[in-house]
Assembly symmetry: C2
Homo-oligomer: 254 residues x 2
DNA sequence: CCATCTTTGTGCACGCGTTCACAAAGACAT
DNA sequence: ATGTCTTTGTGAACGCGTGCACAAAGATGG
């Protein structure tokens, strides 16, 4: 999971619980696939399976949106696609700027999932003057100096930060000052923003660390040798050098 | 947020709640920064601020690990870094393979956060024969045919999928069959895996959609014009063409 | 050695989210 | 028109996560 939203105590928005909102895109994707296969209706059971959730949960989620199903039949695919799209605000056009066009920024610019779901990459911004004018994904990169002007001219309210950690807060401040009120942060930093600004964070290394935790646990269960420090050799043997992890604290830059 | 883990009903592992595990990497990062500045100790209040969480929550989280603090003083930074690293399994070396070396895969390969936290990119794998041998981030790309051999030779238990959605399930199956038991999935699909295999998903477009929902809500509050369908012009006006989204369900490939 | 002050560790209450289980609603056949 | 069968929508119970608030623990100064 991209790791949770920051700030705002999970207040339920217009009656729709946060947890439900987070699943709507999931349903939408499954429904879109059905729509492309011209499937007219779908039951909660089928759709739940396609989205990878419990069917009771799915029905409850939909109940927050209204009664869009027909008992004995299921849900009309097209109608539901529209209702969810509208609820998520995807029937509108959302201009987005991406700041920091490194490897990740470029990947994001090329990511098809954006353009296809109501999001439009309005501009790519980078601090490196050498990047300026260079096209990435068909869009010329602009220099950070232009940031405020770009935001205002395009009416951008959503910004994506893909800069190094050190620059993130500064970029964030400028985005917010220029009028951005929603930020998707890929930089491994905690951003502080004024009230009314939403921040969501995606952290690649955090996800891996969570996996490592469970992986270690799986490996540890085989050898029920209690839980003293350092359960000896747990993961599969690596052919190469195994870092000399003795007992000293591990060091790890940034 | 990478969007939640799939499967397994959030069972609490060895007494440590999932929610706590998900925050440990956050604390670890903050602590690492302090460590680099040679700060010897830190209070729960300070550390919580740096990690962007509540101090009571942080203390409770640490209490699951044991009593590593000193009342009246705080926590020893180095010691805590080590304890959390150990708990997360980062004192070990985790070989990781990345499958799908497109824009995103290349970005991941170059991502510093991996190597620095106990993870080692053991191999890059792509289905395109033209990519084979080409170095990305200093590592030569290998062809998918080698997948099983690579997994086994390197004892890889964690795989990263950065392929197009269509190929993801197939790649997943092969990874699992070859012995991988933890998967980080960047492809916009629901993966089905046997019990015992952990999947975490990171979905860029889902995060944006959640932001859009809140953004729409913010915009809608200004004009308290009820909640009929299509609340007219809510987001800032875009200079360019506004996609002709009338009333028909929006279509969206992949 | 005692008093004071700081900061941890946690008992407790509350609220959100999940799941079960079932009644109501509608389709469909006869 | 009536009965049967399917599937929704939801009331209610339960469990997890969060945050408050405070007692216990230890440091520090006199």
């Amino acid at each position: 999971m991209a790791t949770g939203r920051t700030h705002r105590p999970a207040t339920r928005s217009r009656g729709i619980p946060e947890a439900t909102v987070a699943r709507l895109p999931l349903y939408l994707r499954a429904l879109t696939a059905l729509s492309e296969r011209s499937v007219p209706t779908v039951s909660s059971e089928e759709l739940a399976a396609a989205a990878g959730v419990n069917s009771a949960k799915l029905r409850k989620d939909f109940s927050y949106l209204g009664s869009y199903g027909t008992r004995g039949v299921g849900y009309d695919v097209e109608y539901l696609v529209y209702q969810i799209s509208r609820e998520l605000g995807l029937t509108q056009d959302w201009p987005v700027v991406i700041v920091g066009i490194g490897n990740l920024g470029a990947a994001l610019a090329n990511y098809g999932g954006f353009a296809s779901r109501g999001f439009r990459v309005a501009a790519l911004i980078d601090a490196d003057p050498a990047m300026a004018g260079k096209p990435v994904a068909g869009i010329p990169v602009q220099h950070t100096d232009e940031l405020e002007k770009i935001i205002k001219d395009n009416g951008v309210s959503i910004g994506v930060i893909a800069t190094p950690a050190g620059a993130a807060q500064q970029v964030c401040d400028r985005l917010v000052a220029a009028g951005v009120t929603s930020i998707l942060n890929f930089a491994p930093t905690v951003l502080s923003v004024p009230d009314g600004v939403d921040v969501r964070k995606v952290d690649l290394s955090i996800e891996l660390q969570i996996l490592a935790f469970h992986e270690q646990r799986k490996a540890g269960e085989e050898t029920p040798a209690g839980d003293g420090a350092l359960p000896a050799a747990t993961p599969r043997q690596t052919s190469a050098d195994q870092g000399p992890d003795g007992d000293v604290p591990a060091v790890m830059p940034a």
